[in-house]
Amino acid sequence: MQLKPSLLLSSFFAAIVAMTPAAAALAQDIVLGASVQLTGPVANTGRYYRDAYQMAIDKINADGGVKVDGKAHKLALKLYDNQSDVNLSVRQYTQLVTQDKVNLLLGGFASNFQLADSVVSEKYKIPMVQGGGASNEIFSRGFKYIFGTLAPASNYFGSTIQMMKALKDPPKSVALLYADDSFDVSTADGTRALLKSAGFNLVMDERYSSNTSDFSTLLSQVKAKNVDAVLVAGHETEILNFVRNAKSLAIAPKLYSFTVGVPSEDFRKALGKDADYAFGMTAWLPEASLKDRWFGDAEQFAKAYKAKYGYDPDYHAASGAADVEALVMAIEKAGSLNPQKVRDALASSQFDSLYGPIAFAANGQINLPQLVIQVQNGQVAEVYNAKGFVTPPKYPMPAWNAR
């Protein structure tokens, strides 16, 4: 298999061409700009945003578009691939605003991106609605043009901690492990306080480096300290390695819960049976009770999404679709494309969507309760919500050789 340089080169160009989204048609009226991770280490989450944005825009256009002053306008998407690089993402947003002159902005994935990108939207006073950054840091700077549809990071584990108290034979000692980036540090800060007020004994509180691939030592400490519950705030790669390491060392605390991964099909596929018993949280499940103006309800949205893209949407996708809807609702309410007017309309948003009720707090962030979920026999089961237990949790987790 000789790889000729010319072959490599031509494949490379083919790759570039394939990744460049179709140029936004100029004839269309309202252009939404976004920079999303289509390649690079978080591409597997970035794709939720690309696909959800496109799907929501297509649906809204098919439904007659956006009405401004009694005239229907079509929506278009101008999307760049930031290659999972924050610096590139900031440059692309600047380009979207200054050169492409897009009307309004959508976000990409991950808090560290939103933290930097929101500076651009603030500077140029173009509202950005983003569904990929939950860190409280993003919304604590008094910015006026950033709106977020992910629930605050500090409360990601809130419902899980409530559930832990309600369990029969509840866990006593808890380990909190978290990566050293904005989202995970925010999550850990919030979780630490919640654990304390709930009366749990925090025996391990460790921040690890974001590219950690080996958790053997941390897991050995979990075992040595006889930890009942392990809460991990990290990225999907790390969570996968964590579970694999735990299995290989036969370490099974009574429960473990992760901020990411559990709701994603990709995570369950990679781990197979080993994904069972993992707890997680999601602000969204594809339920028919979540009514939507364009898609009917969340269940229909999920079906249409799977049919179109071949994989199940999770809360990232729903959040992304809601971002487009929030912008459209705001434009219609403002009756104008003026960024300031749309911004003010966004701030007073109030509508039901496939993702849940959309309304932003004064700092721009949404507040949605996190549902506790668990992988049970390869499926995500809703275990606990604000009203109490739904599906009985599988707790405590059995030893690895007793599964």
């Binding site: 340089p5 790759a15 280490p41 597997n44 460790e206 290989s248």
Partner: protein
């Protein structure tokens, strides 16, 4: 005390895997004087190769290693003859640029071919352990460690005692003298690079059984291999083994005593220290 023993065992087992990852990089660097920045991507491709064998043909990941090695050997030979050979006499900077470009191309081709989804090689015995005193030793990690030892010692013996191995070492030491003795460098370079890539591919297969695979794992693995090659030294596979074990243990102890955020500080701090104090690696020159 039990915890310390366990953590040391974790570090040593991980270090063995690190050593195989760096073995190919050190060989190519030492002989061809090319710092292969695409090394991690070749590890990634090897991991995908093993994953496909395991997932579609149900080949045991350890039994599949020789197949992965052969495939990667062929790929390595082709890349060297068709691409790297063009710049083998060029300044170091050009080789860095070319291998960096190669890394980007391989990464993106991998995303096109395999998508950005995560994969893991998960054989039935992935959850089995050996209990030894207070220590729990995961079977797959033991296996990976054994392969690492075998490959390192094998490489060492190969370089020391076979005709080809001696020719490789001769070329690394003095190209002109080697040519005068009938060594044909073009073929030899390609063979060396191919062996390096085969080793990288094997490391990838092992990596996939203990960790997870996606198209982007390469960059951090290149960095790690680079550190190990520097710490261990370039001209002796045993040095690379020592470097890998050393790094594995240092990382484990740093996590235990200092904190997991500081793992990279410790490992790259040691890298800098070695460069200052012992630039030829921990074992120094052996010839």
């Amino acid at each position: 005390m039990d915890l310390l023993a366990q953590v040391l065992a974790n570090g040593i087992l991980l270090g063995g895997l690190y050593a195989v990852m760096a073995l190919g990089l050190a060989l190519v660097w030492g002989v061809l004087n090319i710092v292969n920045l695409a090394h991690g991507s070749f590890i990634m491709l090897g991991a995908y190769c093993s994953w496909h064998l395991f997932h579609y043909l149900h080949v045991d990941p350890f039994l599949g290693l020789p197949i992965t090695a052969v495939v990667m050997f062929a790929l390595g030979y082709g890349v060297q003859r068709g691409l790297l050979n063009l710049i083998v006499r060029a300044p170091m900077f050009n080789t860095l640029l070319l291998t960096f470009g190669l890394d980007v191309v391989l990464t993106y081709l991998a995303q096109l071919a395999f998508s950005a989804d995560f994969r893991a090689i998960n054989p039935g015995y992935a959850g089995s352990q050996v209990h030894w005193g207070p220590m729990v030793l995961p079977l797959v990690r033991l296996g990976a460690f054994a392969v690492a030892l075998a490959l390192t010692v094998g490489m060492w013996l190969f370089l020391l005692h076979t005709r080809l191995g001696r020719a490789i070492r001769a070329t690394a030491q003095n190209l002109v003298a080697a040519r005068l003795h009938g060594v044909e460098p073009r073929h030899l370079y390609a063979l060396t690079f191919a062996i390096g890539i085969a080793l990288a591919g094997t490391a990838g297969g092992l990596y996939g059984t203990v960790s997870q695979i996606n198209p982007y794992i390469g960059a951090s693995l290149t960095l790690k291999s680079f550190a190990i090659a520097i710490i261990g030294g370039l001209d002796n596979p045993l040095g690379v083994l020592v470097g890998g074990l050393f790094l594995g243990v240092v990382e484990a102890l740093t996590t235990l005593y200092v904190g997991p955020t500081f793992v990279d500080v410790a490992s790259f701090g040691i890298l800098a220290l070695v460069l200052i104090v012992r630039p030829t690696g921990l074992l120094g020159r052996t010839t």
